[in-house]
Symmetry: C2
Subunit: 248 residues, 2 copies
């Protein structure tokens, strides 16, 4: 059975946010990411398109389509398509869990999909469970975010919401609101509270004015050289590692 | 004056390592990177090609060429060419300085140019001066490395050499050879020596067998979640931040 023009058109359209939101579907590609997708339970799979090279036995309750290499090339967003592509349903939103004694990561307008994916991968490494993002932060379901996250998107709870309101809720629930900022206190002398909300600003503009007054503690990663700035994903990973060293 | 076909061909060829090595020239693009290039003294500039949009007054001792936007597009390797492109001479190699009481970063086969650029940017932030790389590590003069380094390539001394021999020299000069490895000691309990040589392995294969026996101290960034690995640039930045916290 070969793919219809409409099927190809639908899958291709999911490279674009407008159509992802319209269909409430997104795409996951490649052996490793699809294998992990099948093993997790949070995301529901709408369909799996695989070529002969794909070796895994697919669960019988899934809609699966055996396609040719040429067909995979037509629906893939990758430069080098990799055996399998899954179409996945948007998950249901779960409300923020304020009871967790853990750091909550708050992303204020991170624009670059590679950075968002790396942030999620790194947050997962450090045992962070909840990531909250402003409405204009790059889409979690952008294929580049999914790829760069290396599967960590399956394990992190991601909320897109109004940050001002959410930070007030977090503060009311006992979270210490910290932000990475120039002119902040030296990270190396910072003591962390287990319930920390860590706000990371955009790559070029830092933390936005609307929420800056909600930051109770500013943190600076001390600079020893002359490079103007650290990449936002790098800065996030460094602060998370020091939080973990302090809190365990 | 418009560019000749041969000039266009030469500049374009510098996107490829073989031709960079042949001409001992590489390309730097964009306002910020070229502005910083002009201010530094380590690299000698062979020529600067700029469009009318470029506002900076260029020093009179440089070969400069005023070109059209269309010409810049023909010689640029960027998707969106940005006003100016410089052709730069390979620097002379300076021998490794073993007297420096500082961390020396040793890169064992880092393959991805974005990762190498980010590593150099981050190393510069943390005041690292010397980066040593295996011969098959991605080329420092790859345009993607230059872009991702955000100008830090001008400030870091970079050596490409045989790592086995170099690590033996470093050890003989009192450097403690550390490596980031699975199964190493917890980074959070590690004490660092000021003279540390930190070996980072490749993205997919870790530290190579030929040099692994030279590692005197293995370091592990403890994992609290389920993500399989950290990106090599991220892991480098995290370890450097803890080295700086310990040593100052």
């Amino acid at each position: 059975m070969s793919l219809s023009k409409n099927e190809i058109k639908l899958v291709n359209s999911l490279q674009i946010k407008k159509y992802r939101d319209l269909h409430r579907l997104f795409v996951v590609e490649g052996v490793k990411l699809v294998d992990e997708l099948i093993e997790q339970s949070h995301f529901k799979i709408d369909g799996i398109f695989y070529t002969s090279a794909y070796q895994r036995k697919l669960p019988s309750n899934l809609h699966t389509f055996h396609i040719s290499d040429a067909e995979l090339e037509r629906i893939s967003g990758l430069k080098s398509p990799n055996q399998v592509l899954a179409v996945v349903k948007y998950p249901n939103e779960i409300p923020v869990d304020y009871s967790e004694e853990n750091l909550v990561l708050v992303l204020d307008n991170v624009n670059d999909p590679g950075n968002l994916g790396t942030i999620i991968r790194t947050a997962d490494w450090f045992g962070i469970k909840q990531v909250i993002a402003s409405k204009i932060t790059v889409d979690l379901f952008n294929p580049k975010v999914i790829q760069a996250s290396m599967g960590a998107v399956y394990r992190i709870r991601f909320y897109r919401t109004d940050l001002k309101e959410e930070l007030m809720h977090l503060a009311a629930h006992g979270f210490e609101i910290c932000g990475a900022e120039l002119g902040g206190d030296n990270l190396y002398n910072t003591s962390f509270s287990p319930k920390t909300a860590l706000v990371m600003g955009s790559e070029s503009h830092g933390i936005s004015a609307e929420i800056n007054h909600l930051i109770k503690k500013s943190i600076l990663i001390p600079k020893f050289g002359e490079t103007e700035s650290l990449n936002v994903a790098m800065a996030t990973g460094i602060i998370l590692s020091h939080y973990r060293k302090a809190i365990g």
